[in-house]
């Protein structure tokens, strides 16, 4: 296996709130290869954003990293000083945010906002910085860069603004790009364009991408590997093919079944019953059990570990224990696998 560029080991993050300690991320491990795209999938509040913010060193003030390490090119980011983290942030690891309408400073010309990202990480003259900005604008597909350079964010559409945010992220040729639901706030045609742009950029620059989303439809388009998160844990991780066509965790089944496909004609879309648990003093056992129609008595006793399915595929469910009863995935999932087989 190629040496991973980013390796997260047993990361746990908690938040101190008035209501109590929220255990937002609980013992997460994954790695990211060079040029690879890893999708983090899950409902809101499952800890996917917190994981990425820990990587960026941008956790809120009341957050606490309880355990674990985040190795970037072999060095633990959690041990870096503020100053060292600033050089990495934007320089080596860059981030794209969810809402392009609010991600840009409304009172500053966009040229300067991108130039800021360039000059923070490179010693360049004004002229060179501007040349680089124009180059970036072209790369993200914004025409008439020279004129656009002097415009304010409100003079751009949502999709264009997201392109500018991407240009800012790319300013210093980062090794890793973290995209936090970059298409959620956009309409469907824009989504496709931005996804194409990101794929295009990844091909040209060879950066690794962590793609956070709650939308499995988006994942299928971009991801090499997929990690499904629930209640602060990774419950299933594998290549995109494995997670899509041979899912093992009942939560992944639920997610996939609730995703519309061309085959779902007139039947009702499936919805996972219940709501995610609060992560303040979580009860013992598998936190998904109350919403899981396939729950076992074992789920009430302890959280299941990640059982290996293949060399690259793991799932955290007692159903994979050799002693567990044989349970067939729901019909929608089996049909999906069959359709894939017949292709």
């Amino acid at each position: 296996m190629i040496e991973a560029i980013l390796r997260v080991n047993h990361l746990s993050v908690s938040f101190d709130t008035y209501a109590g300690t929220v255990r937002a991320v609980r013992d997460i491990s994954f790695d990211l290869g060079p040029g690879e795209t890893l999708a983090l999938v899950g409902e809101s509040g499952c800890g996917k954003s917190v994981t990425c913010r820990s990587v960026m060193g941008l956790l809120a003030r009341n957050a606490r990293v309880e355990a674990g390490e985040i190795l970037f090119q072999g060095e633990d980011l959690l041990k870096k000083s503020n100053r060292e983290m600033r050089a990495i942030r934007g320089g080596k690891i860059a981030m794209i945010f969810q809402d392009p309408m609010t991600s840009l400073d409304p009172t500053m010309k966009i040229g300067r906002q991108i130039a800021e990202a360039v000059t923070l990480h490179r010693k360049v003259s004004r002229g060179e910085a501007k040349r680089r900005v124009l180059e970036l604008l072209q790369l993200v597909g914004i025409e008439e860069g020279e004129k656009r350079y002097h415009q304010y964010p409100h003079e751009f559409s949502g999709g264009q603004r997201q392109r500018i945010v991407i240009a800012i992220a790319l300013a210093a040729d980062p090794r890793i790009l973290i995209a936090d639901e970059p298409t959620t706030a956009l309409d469907v045609t824009m989504q496709a364009q931005i996804l194409d742009l990101m794929k295009d950029i990844q091909r040209k620059t060879g950066t690794s991408v962590i793609f956070i989303t709650h939308d499995l439809g988006v994942v299928a388009n971009v991801a090499d590997r997929v990690a499904v998160m629930y209640a602060g844990r990774i419950v299933e991780i594998g290549t995109a093919d494995e997670v899509f066509y041979d899912p093992r965790h009942p939560y992944t089944w639920g997610l996939l079944a609730s995703m519309p496909t061309l085959a779902t004609e007139d039947e009702k879309l499936y919805a996972i019953p219940g709501t995610p648990p609060t992560l303040i003093d979580p009860q013992p056992g598998d936190l998904f059990a109350p919403r899981n129609p396939y729950a076992l008595e074992a789920d009430k006793i302890a959280e299941p570990p990640l059982f290996p399915v293949s060399g690259t595929h793991f799932a955290a469910t007692w159903l994979l224990d050799p002693r567990a009863p044989k349970i067939d995935p729901p019909e929608a999932i089996r049909r999906r696998a069959r359709e894939r087989g017949s292709l």
């Binding site: 219940g274 899981n292 129609p293 076992l296 008595e297 007692w318 009863p325």
Partner: protein, 340 residues
């Protein structure tokens, strides 16, 4: 992983009993508006402390007729300008001595005051007891402020609600009128009004209210316009509720939080106006004591007898600070937009 296997008995690998149908957690009893507000307010330490202070000050001030050791207006020229003296305290400043040409002298002995006679806060240039005057003065200042606040509230709510409910041309005209009125600096307006009216408590209140209801009316109108768009108001209208009923029954209760907060802020501003006017010499007329006239009197002699200035100044500061801090606390509770 192997540990886990040990922990879980084989018998646990059966479908869980009614796992999916767990009982809904019992919801806590819904809190009433007041209970909820109080619960939130209690978390703000500054607000609780200042509320207690305000209760104490108000009680003391309104019990002035009972508590004041002397008649506040009784002149006793022989005992004029005596510094504070406390029984059993020998601290300079509280022991009845004052500095005169670099020497400490016993002012009480000099004025031939009886041994057991104590003026806790000293006396003024006419020998009136400052403690009694402070109690009565605070009482008057607070009365003026409370009445002014209530009037602000009434006029502001009526004007704002009416303007918002009528809408269209009426609203437009009413807003223009407000704009013109607010073109006069409020301090100047108040002073002008006071020149026209006969001096006295009523004129002070009237003069203050003339300018201070304007911001209240604006806030009420803005909030009412917002609330008017709400679904439940539309629903009430669809059900045929009258405009008056909608305004008083649906809109007013929903903007009451913000109105309370504003009213709370208008009390200290009324106190400020009263002291300002009295200090200027156009407010309360001597010999009536108010915080403003006490400050004015104290200022005239403060190079020689600074305590006559500092004591009312300190009272004023404590009252103003308490009201502002308490109002801030209330705002955090009622107007979450302002909350960080």
């Amino acid at each position: 992983m192997s540990e886990a296997k040990v922990l879980i008995p084989d018998s646990a690998f059966v479908p869980a009993a009614s796992a999916a149908a767990q009982a809904e957690p019992e919801l806590p009893r819904a809190l009433s508006f007041l209970e909820d507000s109080w619960r939130k307010l209690r978390k703000n330490k500054a607000a609780v402390v200042t509320l207690a202070l305000l209760i104490i000050i108000t009680t003391l001030a309104f019990l002035a007729p009972v508590l004041a050791p002397f008649d506040p207006n009784e002149q006793h020229l022989a005992h004029k300008n005596l510094p504070p003296k406390w029984p059993g305290v020998s601290l300079n400043g509280l022991n009845g001595t004052s500095e005169f040409r670099g020497r400490r002298i016993d002012a009480y002995a000099l004025a031939k005051v009886q041994e057991d006679q104590y003026y806790l806060l000293g006396t003024d240039e006419f020998g009136r007891d400052l403690l009694s005057r402070c109690l009565w003065g605070t009482r008057i200042s607070l009365t003026i402020a409370f009445i002014a606040a209530v009037l602000d509230l009434t006029i502001g709510i009526s004007y704002g609600l009416f303007s918002a409910m009528k809408g269209g041309r009426v609203d437009n005209a009413m807003q223009r009128a407000l704009e013109i009125l607010s073109g006069i600096p409020s301090l100047v307006l108040v002073v002008l009004m006071l020149l026209v009216f006969q001096p006295g408590i009523a004129s002070i209140i009237l003069a203050m209210v003339i300018s201070s209801w304007i911001p209240m009316a604006r806030v009420v109108r803005a909030e009412a316009l917002k609330t008017k768009q709400m679904e439940y108001v539309q629903a009430a209208r669809a059900l045929g509720a009258s405009e008056v009923k909608i305004a008083l029954g649906h809109i007013l209760p929903n903007i009451s939080g913000i109105v309370i907060v504003r009213a709370m802020f208008s009390i200290p501003s009324a106190i400020f106006f009263e002291t300002f006017l009295s200090f200027l010499g156009v407010g309360m007329r001597i010999p009536n004591a108010s915080i403003g006239t006490l400050l004015n009197g104290g200022y005239k002699v403060f190079r020689l007898y600074p305590y006559q200035m500092f004591i009312p100044a300190a009272i004023l500061c404590v009252i103003m600070l308490s009201f502002n801090l308490f109002a801030d606390g209330l705002r955090d509770v009622f107007d979450p937009k302002m909350k960080e």
